[in-house]
């Protein structure tokens, strides 16, 4: 793990789509974030324990653990309440969004997203 310069915030992008991860990475790096990527839930939880991100951009529907399962597991782990978790999913039904928030997500991005939306959500989370 590379030591971060003071003040640089880390965002972990969790998505099984390489394209989405790449798009998110570009947006986040433009916003001044250091970016880590995970392709599934297990990898995400492992990464979280080592890189201690300020924010996690979390897909819902992934092979293996779902985003919701990752969130539940994360919030039970030591230090797991610290990162801001922003769901990032094509799921756009209000009932599902409410479910994610009830489980402890800080905010929610409906795909497709753009740089303005990501910046807006990170601002609301107090990270920009």
């Amino acid at each position: 793990m590379v030591k971060q310069p003071a003040g640089v915030k880390i965002c972990l992008v969790v998505d099984d789509s390489r394209v989405i991860r790449k798009v998110a990475r570009r947006i986040l790096e433009d916003l001044g974030f250091e970016v880590a990527e995970a392709a599934d839930g297990a990898e995400a939880l492992a990464w979280r324990r080592t890189c201690n991100p300020d924010a996690i951009l979390l897909d819902w529907n992934m092979p293996g653990m779902s985003g919701l399962e990752v969130l539940r597991q994360l919030r039970r782990e030591p230090g797991g309440l610290e990162p801001k978790v922003i769901f990032c999913s094509a799921e756009n039904e209000l009932a599902r969004i409410r479910e994610a928030l009830d489980e402890g997500a800080d905010d929610y991005i409906m795909k497709p997203f753009d740089g303005d939306i990501v910046a807006s959500k990170l601002t609301l989370a107090g990270l920009l």
């Binding site: 209000l94 994610a100 997500a105 991005i109 753009d114 939306i117 807006s120 959500k121 609301l124």
Partner: protein, 270 residues
């Protein structure tokens, strides 16, 4: 668009609404007029402007002018300023008691995001409500229609609005999300051209007009500012953009863009 097209549109904007449009900004003109031209069934912006010139129809002229008036499209724009606006309303509420409702006017409300942000915050902070009257106006008929409908696209509800507020104040609509009737019902809409006589609107405890004055010609700016000030109740508060000023009112210390009507005593009470 030809240079003549751009000059014509800039002139009309100045005459009809006091808007200062720089004809050299071809990109802005094309971007704003493109959707109007399509909506009106023209193949290009140039064809649309030709029709504006040749037919001289009021409806087409206004469609062009309205499209070039500024409009902000994010919810909770400048969150820190928004907190101050909310605090100001709550302070006015606390100060009025039985003296009738606190009256608020969002003078350049665009498609409604700013005034609905305030409406949502007030429902959250003072659910009893009833003691606040919110008026909202814009130059553009097209935007008013959208604002009154309270219908926003998936992109729009993600600009400045948290998912917590989305699930609390919106319902799913066919295309996008609709603000709940309970929120919409707190705001009354009216088309207002700010360079016209505004006496009929009455007077307000709080007038919001952020980032519009700087888009006007000097003479229009002076006239509009005068009308906004005249619309304030004694001790009332005018909120402008952070870089805009209101000579004639007292600037609030530490709150750029906030100005108060009347005496120091009224300001202290506010």
């Amino acid at each position: 668009m030809t240079p003549q097209d751009r000059d014509l549109i800039a002139r009309l904007c100045g005459e009809r609404a006091g808007l200062r449009i720089e004809p050299e900004k071809s990109h802005l003109l094309e971007n704003r007029l493109g959707p109007v031209a399509r909506r009106e069934g023209f193949a290009s912006v140039h064809e649309f402007v030709c029709a504006v010139r040749d037919r001289g129809e009021e409806r087409l002229i206004w469609a062009a002018v309205e499209a070039l008036s500024p409009a902000e499209t994010a919810f909770f724009r400048d969150p820190a300023v928004f907190e101050l606006i909310l605090a100001q309303v709550l302070a006015a509420l606390a100060g009025r008691n039985e003296a009738g409702p606190v009256r608020i006017w969002a003078a350049s409300a665009g498609t409604g995001q700013e005034v609905y942000s305030l409406a949502m915050s007030l429902l959250e902070a003072a659910p009893a409500g009833g003691r606040v009257e919110i008026f909202a106006s814009d130059l553009s008929e097209h935007r008013l229609e959208k604002a009154q409908g309270g219908l926003y696209s998936q992109f729009e509800v993600q600009r400045g609005l948290s998912a917590h507020r989305l699930v609390r104040h919106f319902e799913t609509a066919e295309e996008g999300f609709a603000l709940l009737p309970a929120v919409r019902a707190t705001v009354q809409w009216q088309r207002v051209n700010l360079i016209e006589d505004l006496g009929r609107l009455g007077r307000f405890d709080l007038v919001l007009c952020r980032n519009l004055l700087n888009c006007l010609h000097a003479a229009a700016r002076e006239r509009v500012l005068g009308s906004l000030i005249a619309a304030l109740r004694p001790g009332g508060c005018l909120v402008l953009g952070a870089t805009e000023v209101a000579p004639g009112l007292a600037a609030a210390e530490g709150r750029p863009g906030f100005f108060f009507e009347g005496s120091a005593a009224a300001r202290a009470a506010a």
